[in-house]
């Protein structure tokens, strides 16, 4: 039984149809990746799940519950964390405040403190920069903060939108290691990547999205070997 299931999702921006019937599922404990070129509809798929984009047709089932078009402040409470593209940390807020915002719905100082410590165990760098404004940090640190902020919710499913964007290869490698680590702790990961090769190599399964529709799916290694994919995304 998949933890997250998308049935024929159609999403529009104004008159433009961004998603033309996306169906996919994510099993509990899996790393699933969604690859495709810019503008193909990867981010829109995540936004449709978390409630940032309005779904016109289709349904989204999360843990047997229909969560289609629930507002984001509700979907996140259910355990779906969405780390948006471009990190989108609160630049004028300190690292600590950013993390506190992640735990906005959590009551109790002790629990928040405890979760913060957990985040620091993954990202010790954040602890050093606790009172620094988020916007003054490097791209890699910002990405760590964005993931850390999402972890403050203790999510069951973590959706990551291009976490490697604009980061140096060595940092990307670190981020990918953390993703694997989080996954081994039992967090389900839905990963969007432009760097298809890297994403597929850590994923259990992958979907290829093109022009708002899924055109191919399979296990990570299957897709890496696929000739079409090689040609289109791996140069």
């Amino acid at each position: 039984m998949p933890i997250l299931q998308l049935n024929n999702i159609e999403t529009y921006y104004g008159a433009i149809q961004a998603l033309k019937g996306i169906s996919m599922d994510v099993g509990k404990g899996e790393i699933v990746t969604l690859i495709g070129s810019n503008g193909a509809g990867k981010s829109t798929t995540l936004k449709s799940i978390s409630g940032l984009a309005k779904v016109k047709n289709g349904s989204i089932i999360y843990k047997d519950k229909d969560i289609t078009n629930r507002p984001p402040h509700e979907t996140t409470l259910l355990g779906l964390a969405h780390v948006p593209e471009g990190r989108r940390i609160f630049a004028q807020l300190t690292v600590k405040e950013n993390l506190q915002m992640g735990a906005y719905s959590v009551k109790g100082k002790d629990i928040i403190q405890e979760r913060m410590e957990t985040v620091f165990s993954y990202f010790p760098r954040l602890k050093e920069r606790l009172n620094q404004k988020g916007g003054t940090m490097s791209g890699g640190e910002q990405q760590m903060l964005a993931i850390g902020r999402a972890l403050m919710m203790q999510p069951e499913v973590l959706m990551l939108d291009e976490p490697s964007m604009g980061l140096a290869p060595i940092i990307v490698e670190q981020i990918f290691e953390i993703i694997l680590q989080l996954n081994s702790m039992g967090i389900t990961i839905l990963l969007i990547e432009q760097n298809a090769y890297q994403a597929l190599s850590i994923a259990h399964r992958g979907y290829v999205i093109q022009n708002g529709a899924i055109v191919l799916s399979g296990t990570g290694s299957e897709l890496i070997e696929n000739e079409q994919i090689k040609e289109a995304y791996l140069a």
Binding site: G139, G166, N211, L234, A235
Partner: protein, 270 residues
């Protein structure tokens, strides 16, 4: 002489270096591509060339003359036109009007001509409309001439942006991810159009694109940016095999991770 010569251009945004010491040139009549991962500074580079941003240091020459310090409309008058990554059409205006706006700087009529509706004004306007229509025909957009631009499909909007940019009769056109959001069929068509466009309109082309198939098929010269720096340049074949490029953009290093992932995949699925 190259149509565009960029030497040692650097752009800083309050300490953040978006473009570092970039040198690049576009030969007259050629198709040149700039590739690199998202956030590598490609669009910033376009903005520097078109006068939206001013470089912190360095020189930008168009046909041998500096365009540093010029406003975007002045750069446009020097014969540089562009499209935008996040489409910037005049949404409430019709498709034909969008192209007519592109012709703005070539229309000579003055205020008096407009108020008095002089025959010369009317003639010029009609000729412009006809020419705009022909451009739309070229891009297969002619039947949509009276539609509002914002109501067009994604692919059609991208094409309209190119048509509008060509209406300025540029010497160099900058295309920022022209194929983004297009399906393979549309991309194929676009590839052909871009290939022919250079000769048809006597225009040199500089483009940013992620679709490697398109880039490799049409580019004569490719520049690769990463973290604001140029890490490679060369012909498609050179780029394809350049280890630096593969590492930064085309993907590798993943081999190592890949092995680990299989290990972890095994543990979690059990």
């Amino acid at each position: 002489m190259p149509i565009l010569e960029v030497t040692n251009v650097t752009k800083e945004f309050g300490g953040l270096i978006a473009n570092k010491d970039i040198t690049l040139s576009v030969e007259k009549g050629s198709i040149t591509a700039v590739i690199g991962p998202n956030g590598a500074g490609k669009t910033t580079f376009f903005n520097l060339v078109t006068g939206v941003y001013q470089p912190t240091s360095g020189e930008i020459l168009v046909e041998g003359k500096s365009v540093v310090g010029l406003k975007p409309d002045e750069v446009a008058k020097r014969g540089i036109s562009r499209t935008f990554q996040n489409i910037r059409l005049f949404g409430e205006m019709t498709v034909l009007e969008n192209v007519l706006v592109g012709m703005h700087k070539h229309l000579k009529t003055g205020l008096l001509g407009i108020i008095l509706n002089l025959p010369s004004t009317r003639n010029e306007e009609l000729e412009a409309e006809k020419e705009a229509y022909r451009l739309l025909e070229y891009f297969d957009l002619a039947p949509l001439l009276n539609e509002k631009a914002k109501n067009l499909s994604y692919g059609a909007q991208r094409k309209l942006e190119i048509a509008r940019a060509l209406a300025t009769k540029p010497k160099l056109i900058l295309l920022d991810e022209p194929a983004a959001g297009m399906n393979p069929k549309e991309t194929k068509e676009l590839t052909d159009i871009i290939k022919q466009m250079g000769e048809e309109f006597d225009v040199s082309i500089l483009l940013i694109e992620h679709d490697m198939k398109l880039v490799m098929e049409i580019s004569e010269q490719i520049y690769v940016l990463d973290h604001g720096e140029k890490i490679a340049e060369g012909t498609p074949n050179e780029i394809r095999t350049n280890p630096k490029v593969i590492e930064a953009y085309l993907g590798s290093g993943a081999v190592q991770l890949g092995q680990r992932s299989e290990a972890s995949a095994n543990t979690t699925t059990e």
